[in-house]
């Protein structure tokens, strides 16, 4: 399969389709050739460790909602990536329109120490709606879009887990 990846500059990546996960892959990036072995996998099948030209490389990949990689970490060092073309004989992940959700969730575990809005308030995109206290730091949480606060689902001083719903803007 062939990929065009923006990372610093555009790179053409070709992975041999006949590659087997338990044998090293022959992968070419532009003019360079790499021998790549898959060393460790997570339960969900994603890759934890690669062996690239006899060097162990722990990796992590951040993905967009649709599963496309946006960020790669090589032993913790981040690289922004954008896959601009996937030439495949088998699958081509479709990229749906992403619409901004009005759901405001806790971006970190912590405690809500103040609300700046109440239900029914109109808010501008980017306006602060509440303060989340996490690790001695007060984190301002802002409205993701313009609209009206239709629902506040927690109370002041509530302790939240990452991802808990705080309020909804419609």
């Amino acid at each position: 399969m062939n990929y065009i990846v923006n990372c610093g500059k555009k790179h053409a990546v070709a992975i041999d389709r006949k590659g087997e996960l338990n044998k090293p892959f022959e992968i070419s990036v532009d003019k360079s050739k790499y021998s790549v072995g898959v060393r460790r996998l997570k339960e969900d099948g994603s890759i934890l460790t690669l062996m690239i030209d006899h060097k162990v490389v722990p990796i992590d990949v951040e993905r967009r909602g649709d599963g496309m990689p946006v960020r790669v970490f090589l032993k913790g060092v981040p690289f922004d990536v954008e896959i601009s073309k996937v030439a495949s004989t088998r699958f081509r992940p479709e990229l749906p329109e992403r619409e901004i959700s009005g759901e405001v969730c806790a971006k970190l575990p912590g405690q809500i120490i103040e609300f700046m809005v109440k239900e029914g308030d109109a808010v501008e995109a980017g306006a602060p709606v509440c303060i989340l206290d996490a690790m001695k730091m007060e984190n301002e949480i802002v409205a993701p879009k313009k609209g009206t606060v239709s629902k506040i689902s927690v109370e002041t001083n509530a302790v939240l887990a990452k991802g808990d719903l705080i309020l909804v803007i419609e």
Partner: protein, 510 residues
């Protein structure tokens, strides 16, 4: 020596105090809140008591009443507060003393040192030390506006009883000054400072920050250790420690060591303290006295072989100093790096959560203090420090080399850390020639440059390769599932493709 000592803190300092108390032959008693129940300090203590969450707005470790109650019912004869939390709390000290329990914190003339930055500054000035230009103390807005007129922006607003970067703000303008004032007044209560008093001080650009740890017993025997430098901070908290300070003229070290001796005698300090200076253009300015052992002092223990924590407890129990003076002259070089669970790319936003993978460095001259492990949960409620990495070399160069390699080997996944950033720091010209300023990495561009300096052109190819591999791998996984399901109708591996069946949130947009 004390018989029963209560350690009123958590994390690394808790475990380290428990160890020290046990080495001194006393009973180590400690406290914990529900989510810290599996921590090293709790595990190793002779007795551990779970605190109730009596007030949702206040973490149990700050619940002064509850802790004093426990100290009394458990008949302890001393309490070690560690640092932060109640370490500087006057009320806590008084409540304990009134029950005949000693708070392990430095004394002045036998009384608890209320850690009043301003009073100490005055004493230092009287002792003939150079101090920073600044105002008197006050706690009302009117005086604030007046006092501000006598200094230039940027200036520093300090709470008289602030600690560890709390209650200290650099301000560029009057409006910033006023909001900083309001903020400090507000946080005074939250962090249990002893009074809302503040004062103003000139801001010294690109100054170097050094401190001299000292031990002094009640008969006045004193050891002034070699200086520590913290060349790098963020939010007034230390990221790197070095001892001795690079490029400090030995004659200045000797001079400051003797001036400190004078100051300590004058204040008649008993126990452990750390005397801080700002150095600008070769000129030292007295800054403050810290009355508690901080993570940075591990570097002094590694350099000198003196267990500061243990000596601090011994001296405050009334025993006398028996450390030999040879350790006041540095014979090696020690560098330490604090590792925090936070995201330098997002201006050091805390990154609590579960550690998925961790690789720790080790080897000759490489030392770790950490309690994290694969699977550990990092609390969102406390200081996000997760590890101290220290190296010792025969020279600063050797130490820097060791730190560079150790940070390459050090890898944590699941929470964001400052490890990659610190790799860049120790590779940088600025750090090597000692011209890096404490604020250097407060600047987002500098941070980006440091991390980018780690990337070879090959790395970009590899990153592109990895992105493609991960997508390819999804394909392989999907195919496997199709095959398996075709073969045995099994759906046991369906989880393998979850990200395709129900899209995951991107971890990137915080």
């Amino acid at each position: 020596m004390f018989k029963r000592v209560l350690i009123a803190n958590r994390g690394l300092i808790q475990a380290n105090c428990v160890r020290a108390v046990k080495e001194l032959g006393a009973t180590a008693i400690t406290i914990y809140e529900e989510e810290d129940r599996d921590s090293a300090g709790v595990r190793n203590a002779d007795e551990a008591y779970e605190l109730e969450m009596r007030d949702p707005r206040q973490r149990p470790y700050l619940d002064l009443e509850q802790i004093v109650e426990l100290a009394e019912t458990q008949k302890v004869d001393a309490v070690h507060p560690g640092y932060g939390f109640l370490a500087q709390n006057g009320k806590f000290a008084t409540e304990l003393e009134s029950r005949g329990i000693r708070l392990i914190a430095p004394r002045e003339d036998g009384r608890f040192n209320t850690a009043n930055k301003f009073r100490v500054k005055v004493s230092a000035e009287r002792a003939g030390m150079p101090v920073l230009k600044g105002s008197e103390v006050f706690s009302d807005r009117e005086t604030l506006l007046l006092a501000a007129k006598s200094l230039e922006y940027p200036m520093v607003l300090k709470a008289a009883h602030g600690y560890g970067g709390i209650g200290m703000r650099v301000v560029q303008s009057l409006s910033e000054l006023e909001s900083a004032f309001d903020h400090i007044q507000a946080t005074t209560r939250k962090f249990l400072m002893n009074s809302p008093e503040v004062f103003l001080e000139e801001f010294v650009h690109g100054a170097r920050h050094i401190e001299f740890p000292i031990l002094r017993d009640k008969s006045g025997r004193t050891i002034v250790f070699p200086e520590l430098e913290c060349p790098l901070q963020r939010r007034f908290q230390k990221l790197v420690m070095e001892t001795p300070a690079p490029h400090l003229d030995p004659s200045m070290r000797a001079q400051l060591q003797s001036e400190i001796q004078v100051l300590c005698d004058r204040l008649n300090i008993e126990g452990f303290a750390s005397i801080e200076f700002l150095i600008q253009g070769g000129k030292p300015h007295f800054l403050e006295i810290n009355g508690y052992i901080q993570p940075s002092h591990t570097a002094t223990s590694l350099l000198t072989g003196v267990d500061l924590l243990k000596e601090q407890i011994r001296l405050l129990s009334g025993e006398s100093l028996n450390v030999d003076h040879s350790c006041t002259i540095p014979n090696h070089h020690v560098i330490g790096t604090y590792v925090y669970a936070e995201d330098p790319e997002m201006n050091f936003t805390p990154s609590p959560g579960k550690v998925d993978r961790i690789y720790l460095p080790f080897g000759e001259g490489v030392f770790m203090q950490t309690s994290i492990f694969s699977g550990a949960r990092i609390s969102p409620f406390y200081d996000p420090m997760v590890a101290k990495l220290l190296v010792r070399g025969c020279s600063r160069n050797e130490a820097m080399l060791k730190m560079g390699i150790a940070l390459e080997e050090f890898f944590v996944e699941g929470v964001k850390t400052n490890i990659p950033l610190m790799r860049g720091v120790f590779k940088s010209k600025e750090f090597k020639n000692g011209t890096i300023s404490p604020e250097f990495i407060e600047n987002a561009d500098n941070r980006r440059k440091l991390v980018d300096s780690l990337k070879s052109s090959k790395d970009f190819e590899v990153a592109a390769l990895v992105a493609s591999m991960s997508l390819h791998q999804d394909g392989e996984t999907l195919r496997k599932i199709e095959v398996m399901e075709a073969e045995q109708g099994s759906s046991s591996v369906l989880g393998a493709a979850t990200r395709w069946l129900k899209p995951r949130k991107s971890r990137r947009k915080l």
